[in-house]
């Protein structure tokens, strides 16, 4: 990772708008990445979608990394893969929630509705909370599950208790989100 300024129109736009909130940028084989401070994350996502130069109207993926074994701080990193259909361009935006014990970032469901389930999955697997999410609960695992299995300090062989059968109806019937 280098911190040398990259001459890329999207990055220049971002820097102009957010200044020092852009912590880090790098480019790998034509793919550009920017790391933004958690406080400016939500605004940066909105900017990347709405700005005519950026025009990233499609959220391809939202995921996370636990950097515990990489000995990097802060520990968690949220990664967005954005795509512009008009420009056929891709962009990665990362942010790092400050707390390692109770990581919290703003939800971007209000910007990209497609972020709903990926954010729930990140919450499920990494325990990162998304503030403002309309229905933040486990999506793949079950309520009784203790811990978050994709955290690097989750023991590989840890066993969870067997669960009882659930009624078919959800707590919010007919409500997928």
């Amino acid at each position: 990772m280098t911190d040398t300024p990259i001459d890329h129109p999207v990055l220049m736009q971002l820097r102009e708008q957010f200044g020092t909130a852009i912590v880090e940028t790098h480019e790998f084989r034509g793919d550009v990445t920017a790391v933004v401070q958690a406080a400016s994350y939500h605004a940066a996502v909105r900017f990347l979608r709405d700005d005519p130069v950026c025009d990233f109207d499609f959220l391809a993926d939202l995921t996370a990394v636990d950097r515990l074994k990489l000995k990097q701080k802060p520990r968690f990193e949220i990664i967005l893969h954005l795509y512009s259909r008009a420009r056929n361009a891709r962009f990665r935006l990362k942010t790092r929630p400050e707390s390692d014990h109770d990581p919290v970032v703003a939800s971007v469901v209000d910007i990209y509705p497609a972020a709903n389930w990926p954010e729930r999955e990140v919450y499920d697997m990494f325990g990162v909370r998304f503030e403002g999410h309309p229905n933040l609960k486990r999506i793949l695992l079950y309520e009784e599950f203790a811990g978050h299995p994709l955290r690097k300090d989750y023991p590989v062989n840890k066993r969870q208790p067997l669960i009882p059968e659930r009624p078919l109806s959800d707590d919010r019937p007919g409500m997928l989100f």
Binding site: Y142, V156, Q160, L162
Partner: protein
């Protein structure tokens, strides 16, 4: 039937053997197929391997009409209560076959999501190792299950007991 009750004695033991003979040659499997082992199950249930030789070719897709529960494939923690429900829906007498290493021990899914062997949920009569098992292994297991059924104590009504 002309048999008054089932008192211990010569006739009862012969009756048990007769019922066992009938039951072991008319196993109705319920395939609980969740993963890739299902492909091998399809292979073994096809004409080439001819399960009808053992009277076990006709799958019943209702647990209430089946007496052999074939658990084929990985059972996740969230699937476990469903499997338990299916087992409880089956009428006595019933036998359970763990098909493939995932159902036996969890296999290489040594992780948070997988039940480490279905015998943590339901009793198992026959374990078939392999990932997936060869059809010949399944036939071998079927014959071993038949031998086991023949050795068990059967009554006209009620559960099967170990002899």
């Amino acid at each position: 039937m002309g048999v008054e009750g089932e008192r211990p004695g010569f006739l009862t033991s012969r009756l048990s053997d007769g019922i066992a003979w009938a039951r072991k040659w008319s196993l109705f499997p319920y395939p609980f197929v969740t993963a890739c082992c299902g492909m091998e199950y399809m292979s073994v249930s096809s004409a080439h391997y001819d399960l009808d030789r053992f009277g076990a070719a006709w799958p019943r897709f209702s647990p209430r009409q089946a007496d052999m529960l074939l658990v084929v494939g990985t059972i996740s923690q969230k699937m476990a209560p469903v499997l338990n429900r299916v087992y409880e829906q089956m009428c006595e007498p019933k036998w359970v076959v763990a098909f493939g290493v995932c159902t036996c021990t969890g296999g290489f899914y040594d992780n948070y999501a997988t039940v480490q062997g279905i015998d943590r949920i339901i009793p198992v009569d026959c374990y078939i190792p392999g990932c997936p098992p060869r059809p010949e292994t399944v036939l071998d297991a079927l014959m071993k299950l038949q031998a086991k059924i023949q050795k068990q104590h059967h009554e006209l009504v009620g559960p099967v007991r170990s002899a």
